[in-house]
């Protein structure tokens, strides 16, 4: 389990990119839900954390490929491969990420994660 940030530092409508390998992004939707997916668009290298969060979808800032945060599935127009999804836990006023597969390398420590946004 990776500490992402304090709950207060992630208002609704925001996203945080964690520089893991590969990078992962945590989203807090306008409806108050938390989701996490691999951050890199499967169409071209761009950060989905920089994209547009609407409902439980995120739109890539470069070419508007849309991914469903619940399933990681793309809309299929530009991006055809899904991104992996991960779990988010909110406990004791903090946001935590639980990676879905062990092959993701959490290669940096919590301090550096705090600095990432």
């Amino acid at each position: 389990m990776i500490h992402v940030c304090a709950l207060a530092d992630m208002p609704r409508g925001s996203a945080r990119r964690l520089p893991l390998v590969p990078p992962v992004s945590v989203f807090h939707t306008s409806d108050g839900e938390f989701y996490a997916i691999d951050d890199t668009c499967t169409h071209q290298d761009a950060s989905l954390a920089d994209g547009w969060l609407e409902g439980c979808e995120v739109e890539c800032p470069l070419h508007a490929a849309i991914f469903d945060l619940r399933t990681g599935e793309p809309d299929g127009l530009l991006a055809r491969k899904p991104v992996r999804t991960h779990r988010v836990l909110v406990e004791a006023d903090s946001v935590y990420l639980v990676l879905s597969t062990p092959d993701v390398m959490a290669d940096i420590g919590g301090d550096e994660l705090e600095a990432a946004s």
Binding site: P23, Q44, A46, D50, G51, W52, P61, L62, H63, A64
Partner: protein, 379 residues
């Protein structure tokens, strides 16, 4: 005459005549380039109607001097102006004249993507370049002001005083700023816009607008409505003077019939009068009781100028769907008559007959002040 040795300041030839600029001022690409650099890229210029950029993400591509500038309404409600150039490899960002951005401004070349406040928000592989400062590589901002319901921009690093250079022109002509404020120009709505592509130097268009020596010859409809124009003295010859409507004229219309109701703030002594103001270097404002006409010029070459003319009426007049043709037609004809005259004059500027210029008669002597203003800026 070359660009390096501009002609002398207009000087008296006799009691009646003073000299104009030399012909080369209207034809020489080198002089035109200096005007672009030293006038249009340093002055406040009027480039758009604020109401055309009301919605978040609304954008317009405009020209200021030799620069393309994009105006965009941000998510915070602020209107911003940026040089229309991608910070990556210099491609023009915005290629359409006007429209609505969905999310961001994106370069069509490598997809560098800027938010509506100009910050770089995304680019291919940007996340693997953490040393790239997204603010530093944001779009380059241009100074911007709103006045009279219009967007004014200045490309200069250190813009001149808007109050002196722009509002000051209105005070010089009308005597005070309250006289124009009574028309409530910023609250008026666009009734009609006509774009004229004029094959003439921008200064010929300004000089023409400043004088009325030509009015009796080429403007039959206008002199019918404003009989004193037949005497050859333009409203701009005086300070605070509005040309009076003829006694049998009911409105500022092509046939003298009644126009719309007088704008609510217009005073009794402004009623039934036409006022004109030149805001150098590229704006003309025309005030009549029921509407306001604004001309904006964009010089594209020594012999080509775009003029956009807006007819602004009270919002309820525009919303009512009332036929504005009789009102619009009067100044549309004046515009066509004027621009035809300017286009007839442009070839003469290159003639050996005009190598040393021509002359200004007494009712045109105030044009000499424009020539002095120009030469001060080109010096």
């Amino acid at each position: 005459m070359t660009a390096a040795t501009p002609g002398v300041t207009p000087s008296p030839i006799s009691t009646s005549l003073i000299s104009t600029l030399a012909g080369s001022y209207y034809t020489d690409p080198a002089i035109f380039a200096r005007e672009q650099e030293q006038i249009f890229e340093r002055s406040w210029t009027c480039v758009a109607l604020v109401a055309d950029l009301a919605a978040t993400g609304a954008f317009q591509k405009v020209q200021a001097g030799r620069e393309s500038v994009v105006l965009v309404r941000g998510r915070d409600g602020a209107l911003r102006a940026f040089l229309n150039v991608c910070r990556h490899r210099g491609a023009q960002l915005c290629t359409e004249e006007t429209g609505q951005l969905r999310r961001n401004l994106q370069c069509p070349y490598h997809a560098w993507t800027y938010d509506l406040s100009g910050k770089l928000v995304a680019a291919p592989n940007l996340t693997s370049m953490p040393d790239v400062d997204r603010d530093r590589y944001g779009l380059l901002p241009v100074h911007i002001r709103e006045w009279l319901g219009y967007v004014w921009i200045c490309l200069g690093d250190d813009p001149p005083s808007f109050e002196e250079d722009v509002i000051g022109e209105v005070v010089t002509r009308l005597g005070d700023v309250g006289s124009i404020e009574r028309y409530g120009v910023e609250d008026l709505a666009l009734g009609r816009r006509i774009r004229y592509d004029v094959a003439a130097n921008w200064k010929l268009i300004i000089e023409n607008f400043m004088e009325c020596y030509h009015c009796a010859t080429i403007h039959p409809e206008l002199t019918e409505v404003l009989p004193e124009f037949a005497e050859g003295y333009a409203a701009q010859f005086f300070v605070g003077h509005g040309a009076a409507f003829g006694g049998d004229i009911d409105g500022f219309t092509v046939d003298g019939s009644a126009g719309a109701d007088k704008l609510p703030g217009v005073s009794d002594d402004q009623d039934r009068r036409y006022y004109a103001i030149t805001i150098k270097p590229q704006v003309f404002v025309n005030l009549v009781p029921d509407h306001v006409i604004v001309h904006r010029m964009t010089p594209l070459a020594a012999d080509r100028t775009i003029v956009e003319c807006d007819w602004l009426f009270a919002p309820d007049v525009v919303a009512s769907g009332r036929d504005l043709d009789v009102s619009v037609e009067l100044f549309h004809r004046v515009n066509q008559q004027d621009f035809d005259a300017c286009e007839r004059t442009q070839p003469g500027m290159a003639s050996r007959a005009y190598r040393d210029g021509g002359v200004l008669v007494p009712s045109e002597h105030h044009i000499g002040e424009f020539h002095s203003w120009l030469q001060e800026r080109l010096a």
